[in-house]
Amino acid sequence: MSQRRWAAGLLLISAALLAYELLLMRLLALAYWGHFAGLVISIAMLGIASSGLFLFAARDDVRRRPEKYFGGGAGAFGITAPLAFLLSQKLPFTPFLLTWSAHEYGLLALRSALFFVPFFLAGLAIGTPFVARVLPMGRLYFWNMLGSGLPALPLLGAMNFVHPMQLLGAVVVLAIAVPALCARGLLWRIGWLAGAAGIIATVALTPFRYSEYKDLPKTLLLPEAKLLEERYGWDGVIQIVDSPHTRYLPGLSLNFIGRLPPAQLVFTDAGAMTLAFKVDEPESDFLKQTPEAFSFRLTTSPRVLHLYGGPADLIRARLFAASEAQIVDDSATRVAALINATGESAGSLVRADARQFLERSEAPFDVLAVSLLGSHGTSTAGAASLDSSFLLTVEGCARLFDRLTPGGHALFGTWIENPPKSGVRLAALLIETLRGKGTQNPSQHLLAMRSWSTLAIFVGREPFSAAAIEALKEFSDQNSFDLVWFEGIEPADTNRINVLPEDSYYDAFAALLGPGRRDFIARSPFLLEPPRDNQPFFNQAFRWSAVPQWVSSMGMSWLPFVEWGYILHAAALVMVTVLGVLLLLVPCLWIRARPTVRSATLFFLLGVAYMFVQVWAIAKLSQFMAHPLLAAALVLSAMLIGSGAGAAVLARGTGARPAISFALLALCLGLAAVAFPILLRLFYSQPTSVRGTIAVAWVALPAFFMGFPFPYALGRLVRQNEVPWALGLNGFGSVVGSLAATLVAVHFGFFALVLSALCLYLLVWRLSIARVGAT
């Protein structure tokens, strides 16, 4: 087969694999939840790593007949990839059984094993040209990286038009084009193409199945409920449902005796429900009996901005004659659906990232409201615990307070939880922000009350007056809400109507505003430290150090209350490490010509270091680009293509100068880290196209030099039969690295993450100076 065909084939299968990985992450998150998707895919990706073992065992045959392994692996991947997903949809999944049922773990393992197969086959196809050395290493790496970098942005674009499951057809086309290129006879080609057509038709005709525990399928079981429309967007699949028997209004007063008006339901990814009340609904008095309505006792004709609110907030603002009211939501698809369902104008419902909107908005607001009332089950189970939020950080809240008019206030709403986590951490964050802004007595700037299910905290730009406190007391009394905080509150004022066993919210305010606040935070069983931009994980409240306390006071009953997103991520890291060792390192003991410790470490660390930089870049650009998915697509494209180009240029021939390349890598990475805050300050409020261009340059420059070490080290291997091992270990390091990077960011911050990456690359340089694999 010609070199050109090898290059084209490697590009195609690399593109197919990355497209599959991205689609699988999206599809599993859509059908189930994101944290389960991460767990399943991480384990399945060991298939790529373990293909190295197979290639090693079959290396002689692979070198004799590389086309067979290349075309066969790619073609089989094209067929098994969508089939694995379709079969996984048939497997039952009951997430809450994971806390105690071994059977459920068996199903999870089966699901991972299903996906292991296509990942193994793709790894086999990609590894073959490296083992057979059909092209120089630098060029192979270039085509591999270029192919991997290509599909992210087109996939994101295509998600605006079709359901992500249908895009599995693109994976099939890309993958089966490889055997079509390699096959010698026309009949073989026709056979592969017919197979592809059959698989695509099967995918097209199979309905997508959501977990029965997601909100959408449960709603559709209700009488008269019907799915009106499904909208596809790169930022989510939106379902609009008419369900006259669903009524949703968190925090509604116990004193309300009327009827809630009908509304359409807008679901995002079959969960996260928003109610689309019609704007001119005459029966909107119910909105006066929620804690949020108190804002309008504090101010008249205000200019109101709701961050992550819903149409009900607009109706409430109009009910109280607000001079202007806007909702900011970060999903363009959801905003379009809400505008369609409510008839609101695009000026009232704005698609924007909350933090970025605050940066670019000019006139200040009298009321700035932030709703944390997402899906209750999801938030209390910690499904979103690893999601970053640059609004709920000290810096984000400081910016928010800056956007208030002198007499204005911010309002934060969250759930009452048992045990209290979000509400207490929110209080800690707001108090810390006030202190950071030089507020002498933060207590005077705070009012708080709770209904039986929600907590509302009001933060004044200036101290609240005695009249405001009296108004709070009166409003609470009228609506049977409980007072939680105002300057001068007595314990006897609290916990009277909606009685909690201990009023943890009042206690927390008292502790956080008192001299013992540091001790309170340090000794809490939850992480209460106010998040900062360097560690913007507001929902991650789990502390390892508290586990002995939990166990001693609750036995194993604490398990359902931890952040499952975090726990599953940590579990995935442990499982992947153990399985990787079993699949890759243990076989070393029985096989002669195994890799040296030095080369094993080198290729493993190369994978880890690369993923550390990738995760760091995605996290930083999530803020800069104001959307994590857009950031991920940009980083994947720019970084992989940049690395491919670097490999082609820097690792060409034998004249490469490793010291200079490594020094430039370190310099560019360091520069990127230092330059980021400056770029953020200068360009954060610029249009997406400007930020996107800058982001690509910011990522591509260090990525260019990051493309050098891997092909350079491969080229310097003493024993060439170690190449498959090197590929496997690098794949293993990539999976471990992507999981470990998130944990490093959560516990030590993004700066520590990029610093670790830098140190790892220096270590790689030291290891690769010697002729790799020499004993």
């Binding site: 009951t94 809450f96 806390t99 105690w100 977990s211 525990y213 997601k214 079981l221 209700l222 009488p223 028997h245 009524r247 209004l249 968190p250 925090g251 509604l252 116990l254 004193n255 005796i257 009327g258 209750h376 089950g377 209390t380 939880e417 048992n418 045990p419 209290p420 207490v424 039986w452 299910s453 049977s480 007595e490 314990p491 006897a492 909606n498 009685v499 909690l500 066993p501 201990e502 943890s504 206690d507 927390a508 008292a510 502790a511 956080l512 008192g514 013992g516 001790d519 309170f520 000794r523 069983p525 002995p548 166990v551 001693s552 006071s553 609750m554 036995g555 009953s557 359902p560 209350f561």
Partner: protein
Amino acid sequence: MKGCTPSGWLIALVGLAVPIAITTAAEDDRAAERALMVQEQLANRRGPSRSSSAPPPSLSGDGAGGGAPMVSSRSVSEHLGIQNPKVLDAMRTVPRHWFVPEGMQRDAYADRPLPIGYGQTISQPYIVAMMTELLDPKPGSKILEVGTGSGYQAAVLTKFTPNVHTIEIVQPLQKQALPRLQRFGLAPDQVLHGDGYFGLEKEAPFDGIIVTAAADHIPPPLLQQLRPGGRMIIPVGPVHATQRLVVVEKDPAGKVRSRTVHPVRFVPLTGGPRGPEKK
């Protein structure tokens, strides 16, 4: 035609009786498991004890800068069991395995929630017992359950009063629950398919209401149908772990208050510098 001999009749009767006896035995052959569940998980349930030598974990400093105990108001090993003997009797009597799907029979008497299909669960026995204890139904009192689900909670309530009405909005679940609950004496017009949000106007007022469906707010019609002096119980939290139970009480004047009960005890967030004690 050859007539049937007396011994033939006897054999035929025995032949008929055996399956019935087997069925009855099968239905109740798990009484020992039930008794064990009631004894260990419901009656004698305790919070985990701590070694007396280990200092109690602390959460925060008190006003004087010292460490206030995190579990300051708790005994070392706390009794969390169900106190009401009638509730324990009811839990001992109602076969939970009748309400559990075929594939989950093995776990029918584990103190766990179990899936019953349609994204719904049968609550863990401890929660059912605790909700019943909190409701405190009296003989003859009229009870409304919103969200029949498997029917297990309603079956337990029938051990206190025959005036139990239950509504399920998912029709297949209601259809499955009806024959089960008929064995406990409920008539078809007491096991209804419909929207429980609006309660059951024609049977109102109720002495007690149990809302087993997830609720973000308390349906006003249910509050109106609650008799003054009556109680409503609502579990709040994700499906796998009811994190709190809210008891809504309507006083004789019609004033409504709520009270939260924590079925699972936590390390409370107390111990911060408190203000003066409540007067």
